[in-house]
């Protein structure tokens, strides 16, 4: 029996559809329940940012989570497979017409993703003042809170509607199947079996 942590929303839906394809049966969470028990799997519905935490502490053996979240959290879990879904970019956005100038002495960057941002600028030896925000990141440059933002971009519409544009792409993200390190050792048969089956579905979809 494997416990699978899924992030609430579209990714959970897409992942359950993959499981339905593999096993030819329906996997649906009833009402507002957060646990779905089936003979071979127990699915947990958790917040996106918590998936890797559940897997790291082995409250779940495997999970599905975006690469951006994994990179941000830096938890020691196994990245088994790129599911090639939920593709998005982590990008730097500035007010329309402004140019990214990394030679400025002190840049202010507003973001939810403090660690990714810190690493990116450190690697380029640029000193930045990172301002952690929890939402409405696009607002920060408009009201002078920051010179730029680092945020997730799917289509770019939200940035555009707020008078911002992407000036630099930092990384491409997609959802990954991850596993707990001890579960991979102790339940290798089961983990690799589902890995193989999901991998086949992803390949046939591609």
């Amino acid at each position: 029996m494997l416990t699978v942590a899924l992030p609430k929303g579209r990714i959970a839906q897409e992942t359950l559809e993959i499981f339905e394809k593999i096993f030819g049966e329906s996997f649906v969470f009833n009402d507002r329940k957060l646990i779905l028990e089936t003979p071979k799997f127990r699915f947990l519905l958790v917040r996106n940012q918590d998936v890797a935490t559940y897997v790291f502490h082995q409250a779940a053996d495997i999970g599905v989570v975006g690469l951006d979240t994994l990179e941000e959290q830096g938890l020691d879990v196994i990245r088994l497979l790129d599911l090639k879904k939920g593709v998005c970019r982590v990008a730097i956005g500035m007010r329309k017409g402004e140019k990214l100038d990394l030679s400025k002495p002190e840049l202010k960057v507003a973001t939810k993703m403090v660690n990714i941002t810190k690493r990116y600028f450190e690697e380029r030896a640029v000193s930045v003042d990172i301002i952690k925000l929890y939402g409405s990141i696009e607002l920060a440059p408009l009201v002078g809170l920051a010179d730029m933002i680092v945020d997730i971009v799917e289509t770019g519409t939200t940035m555009k509607q707020n008078g911002l544009e992407v000036v630099e792409e930092m990384m491409t993200s997609s959802t990954y199947l991850i596993a707990n390190k001890n579960s991979f050792i102790a339940k290798k048969d089961e983990v690799l079996d589902i890995y193989k089956k999901i991998s086949d579905v992803i390949k046939s979809d591609a």
Partner: protein, 282 residues
Amino acid sequence: MIFEHEIPNGSKLYFGESAKVKRRVESIASEVLYSKGYEEIVTPLFSYHQHLSISDEKKLVRLNDEKNHNISLRADSTIDVVRIIQKRLGRNTEHKKWFYIQPVFTYPTEEHYQVGVEYIGQKSLSSVLGIAKEILDRLEIKPLIQISNMQIPKLISDMFEELSLEDFRHVNIEKFLSLNVEWLEKLVYLQNAKQIDEVISIVPESIKTELLKMKELCSEMACENSVMAPLYYAEMLYYDELFFRIIEKNEVYARGGRYKNEELNSVGFAIYTDVVCEALTK
């Protein structure tokens, strides 16, 4: 502000029942170890030499002696036990089998109690794995024994330009399988000693030797609850070949392996007392 009830984050407090459990773990461990001819050693809490062996010096709690030489709190017992026995006690004792029951400390305020064993000049890992198993058996803990060999990831990463030790550390199986090498794929899936027999005829000679060492350790142990993980790799201070972890769920109860000190092969392991105590008090 620090409240009167606070203790530093990561430090350990045992009292009443939990202290009793800890004492029982240590007492059973010492009983088993004395019966096998091991002697106890208690090394100084302060050390001049930890920074020579610990790769990440930031982990050390550092201070200075009266002549302003760098010293640190003991962050690893093996380093000092082996050095003291070879360099300081060499003239006084020929004894090779030692154990210690003492904590280690890492920056900023982490504290970990351990029972450790070093068999100096011994090559056979089964001689100490059996003891670790016996101690845990006596405590009625029946975990899973993982057997790995640090040489296998090193040999494979030398063979394939595309692979690095980081791929093994992160268990990058997509990359392993993408190489389309039959024996490597079999190693990804390998879990038990019987599967070693199935792959042995197709692996390169150098890997064959290392796989057979794993198989031999498993058969010497007759461990009913064991798993082979030939591609497991972790950055380790000194274990360089056969290696074991004793795990249950997300916890690691013990780990041990073979190591080399000045061309002398030795084997040892450490039981993580805090983890065992937590399991016993649950």
